[in-house]
Amino acid sequence: MSVAIDTHGLRKRFGSTEVLAGLDLSVPAGSVFALLGPNGAGKTTTINILTTLVKPDAGVARVAGFDVAASPEEVKGRIALTGQSAAVDEVLTGTENLVMMGRLSGLGRQAARDRADELLERFALTDAAHRRLGTYSGGMRRRLDLALSLVVDVPILFLDEPTTGLDTRSRQELWNVIRSLTEAGTTVFLTTQYLEEADQLADRIAVLDRGRVAAEGTADELKARIGGDVVELRNADGALLLELPTDGSVHGLRAAIDRLDHSPASAAEGTQVSIRRPSLDDVFLAITAGAEASAPELIESK
């Protein structure tokens, strides 16, 4: 399988802050790759370097077979970016935004218009085609923003936190679109703060921590590293008393409940128990805490 994106020892510093501290990534062509991490982990900087917006201080990045530092124009011809802030023209209509982008991508007038109609249809925006973007809802704007990246079939698509700020329904819709892209063979490189999003979409996930890849693998591999579900114990006021990570098996769950029996906190009036999926915090705590976190362990809260 060939490689769409690879980086070696990528470094970037803004002032006294080291944002990337030697980033190594390898993204197979035709896959969905998610870069997972909290705010400030270096996700956007990584995207900015890969899309030629920012120069790395050190290291090499190759996108679609071209070095981003040496051949930025070649890279630009083969990528599209949908960034965090909706990069749309508020004054123009949906159609006009798409036609403009088509023209700038080398389509003829008629071809750009046909493509605009096609994309509006595909993103369920036909009814809003002749409305200015200023009147669009957040979800519609994101869909159009993504459509703008698809006016030509680029082999590699970058999505920087594509669903941040969207409601559940719009998020689901956007996920469906992203899934359909991979069926067409597009490589998708996305960043997200949400484990669920990475889980739903990505073939491979890299967890970014302080400018380095702290862990990489499929969603299942990462979950296995942090154990399965988390058993939570909360008091009558809803405050968290105990968190017990489990390995996700029935046996592991039973073991966790057994431990609850021995905990004095569970004896109090109104105490509630619940099971939840691991959150990004859990992945993070586990991965950044190192090897000892891979075994289920009692995390005492406060």
Partner: protein, 274 residues
């Protein structure tokens, strides 16, 4: 089964042909100019202002101040060039806001990740401003003629006046574009631009320099607007312009050059690869 299955598209283009075709010579420029024209036409408030302001100013200076300044009724002939420049400055100032908005909303980053000369965005705003303000100039002249403006210009004089007005608009538009690049937000851009709009008042646009206090005379005499005004007035009224025409051209070209260089540096800093 004889179902036809479309062959899957090659998953990996590798160093194959780019998906975005190379653009024709002026495709980016004409696309961005079209965009800026649409912006101009849709900003109803600014468009109304561009037509209302010259009309109001023309009427105000002719019927309210005019007779006090020059009871013989010839003030309208004196004031036309000043109002043209005042309106041009006002109309061009929105360029600062448009440029700043493009630079701060993230749309510039989309253009920068495409094989397009991203500076063409600025070209679009400048050309639209030029067109917008030439229309405003036309409105000033039509209103002026209606209220008694009687120029003595020859055809050559009209052409020369038109050329100088266009050069002035281009210059001040570039200056506002650079201000838009320097400003941290569209609001800040609008604030900075405001200062420039007062320059015509401290010139020979509305009253002769000799009527000002001595210290102000010095400022009014040597600031760039005065020779430009005097030259346009000379062309329109067919009076000799002497060497003020060279001062007018010199000031315009010098400021244009500074604005282009300054704007270029700012653009590279803000929209270059960081």
């Amino acid at each position: 089964m004889t179902t036809l299955i479309a062959p899957p598209r090659p998953a990996v283009p590798g160093p194959a042909a780019p998906a975005r075709a190379r653009l024709g010579a002026f495709t980016a420029e004409s696309t961005f100019i079209g965009r800026s024209f649409r912006h101009s036409v849709r900003d109803v408030e600014a468009l109304l202002m561009a037509i209302m302001l010259p009309t109001m100013l023309m009427l105000m200076f002719t019927f309210i101040f005019g007779n006090a300044i020059d009871p013989s009724g010839g003030y309208v002939d004196y004031v036309v060039p000043g109002i043209i420049l005042l309106c041009a400055g006002f109309g061009a100032s929105s360029t600062a806001i448009s440029v700043s908005r493009d630079m701060t909303t993230g749309i510039i980053d989309r253009f920068r990740t495409m094989p397009v000369r991203s500076g063409a965005v600025l070209t679009g705003h400048v050309v639209a401003s030029l067109a917008r303000n030439l229309v405003a100039t036309g409105v000033v002249i039509v209103v002026a003629l209606l209220v008694g403006f009687r120029p003595d210009a020859t055809v050559l004089g009209w052409l020369a006046a038109f050329g100088l007005v266009a050069l002035y608009i281009l210059t001040i538009t570039y200056l506002f574009a650079a201000i838009g690049l320097a400003a941290s937000s569209p609001e800040a851009a609008s604030g900075f631009g405001f200062i420039l709009l007062f320059l015509p008042y401290v010139s020979s646009a509305f009253v002769p320099v000799e009527t000002m206090p001595e210290w102000l005379q010095w400022v009014a005499e040597y600031q760039p607007i005065t020779p430009i005004i005097e030259t346009i007035r000379g062309f329109l009224m067919d009076t000799p312009v002497d060497d003020t025409v060279w001062w007018a051209l010199g000031w315009c070209l010098a400021i244009l050059l500074v604005a282009i260089v300054w704007g270029g540096l700012l653009f590279r800093r803000k929209a270059g690869r960081r």
